[in-house]
């Protein structure tokens, strides 16, 4: 990977961090609010189903995660596991794809966009 690509990874990491900072604040507030008195599927789905606002919010959240987490994990693997080659980079692309796919599946499930 060229230094320019590596730099762009750094930029993507910071840009997604800014998006995530906003998302996580909302997420934490929602968790703490929803946790009072226990959570149930009906309660979660009642809030999210058929709500385009939540659909947009969680989609953005998931995609930012899919960008942010693999870049961070790549650094950790390079530094703490000495895994530095193309194999590591390829694995991180796969991890990003997995997060994006599983994440969007979850978003569609809880917002009922598919049903």
């Amino acid at each position: 990977m060229s230094p320019r690509s590596q730099t762009l990874l750094w930029v993507a990491q910071r840009a997604s961090a800014v998006v995530l900072a906003l998302c996580v604040v909302v997420h934490l507030a929602t968790i703490i609010y929803a946790m009072r008195g226990g959570i149930s599927a009906a309660e979660i789905l009642g809030r999210t189903r058929g709500n385009p606002g939540w659909l947009a919010f969680y989609s953005l959240f998931v995609l930012a995660c899919a960008v942010h987490a693999p870049i961070g994990l790549r650094t950790v693997l390079r530094e703490w596991a000495a895994w530095r080659g193309r194999g590591c980079d390829a694995a991180m692309w796969l991890f990003a794809a997995l997060l994006a796919w599983a994440g969007m599946r979850a978003v569609l499930a809880v917002t009922g966009a598919l049903t």
Partner: protein, 250 residues
């Protein structure tokens, strides 16, 4: 021997410091010494005492003894420090000292670390000034109050002691990482309005071997004996490099 007044306490021997000093190469070991404790004694004084009075074969390095040359850095009780300006009082409250060569660098012998890689990385980060003027040109004028000059106000005071490099975990975990001092040097040149190698230098300090691998531990900033902040300079490089990458010029 002076006469003692009757009933007065006998003069105690000067208190001793228990000093463990690294001997040999990477696979060496600590050797214990007892060194008389004095007021306003520096760690370098202790090392010199050992070499001059106890064991002449001890290898170590120093030159100026006043914090200017940057050659006397060692690991003192687990922390990298300049030894000529580190007072024993400050680091050995309990009278014990453990002195080792700087970490993150190969050991030549005893307290002498091999600084080659450290300085090679200055070269690799294009730490050399590249000017465009000849002696027929006018002197360049750098306004002391300009932003560029203010940015490097502290960075240009680096004495190249290697303390920050030895304290930096990114260096330990990523052997290619250029390290705080070399990157700080590059930052002073990026801000030098007379310099002409700006883009090549940004290229040299970008990516995983460069500023992207600084994780803002601030160990360098915490330990730099000149109280410089390589982390701040590296943050500047990160922004400059990111901007160039986005513009497509990198």
């Amino acid at each position: 021997m002076s006469r003692r007044e009757k009933g007065a306490a006998p003069p105690s021997d000067p208190p001793q410091l228990l000093v463990r000093v690294w001997r040999g190469h990477a696979d060496g070991e600590f050797q214990p010494f007892e060194v008389p404790r004095h007021a306003t004694q520096t760690v370098l004084d202790v090392v010199m005492h050992i070499q001059r009075s106890l064991d002449a074969t001890l290898a170590y390095r120093y030159a100026c003894r006043v914090g200017m040359c940057g050659s006397c850095a060692m690991t003192v009780n687990g922390v990298p420090r300049w030894t000529c300006r580190t007072h024993v009082d400050k680091v050995a409250g309990d009278g014990r000292l453990e002195i080792a060569p700087l970490s993150n660098l190969p050991v030549i012998r005893d307290l002498v670390a091999d600084m080659r890689e450290f300085f090679d990385k200055w070269a690799r980060s294009r730490g050399r000034f590249d000017g465009g003027n000849t002696r027929h040109d006018e002197f360049a004028r750098v306004a002391p109050a300009s932003t560029e000059r203010q940015q490097v106000e502290s960075g240009i005071e680096c004495i190249g002691c290697g303390v920050c490099y030895s304290a930096c975990d990114s260096v330990a975990w990523n052997p290619d990482y250029l390290g705080p001092a070399a990157l700080l040097r590059a930052w002073t040149l990026v801000n030098d309005v007379r310099d002409t190698a700006g883009l090549e230098r940004l290229r040299a300090v970008s990516g995983d071997a460069g500023c992207a691998s600084c994780h803002t531990h601030l160990s360098c900033t915490e330990r730099c004996p000149k109280q410089l902040s390589p982390t701040a300079g590296i943050a500047g490089l990160k922004r400059a490099v990111a901007l160039a990458a986005l513009k497509g010029t990198l």
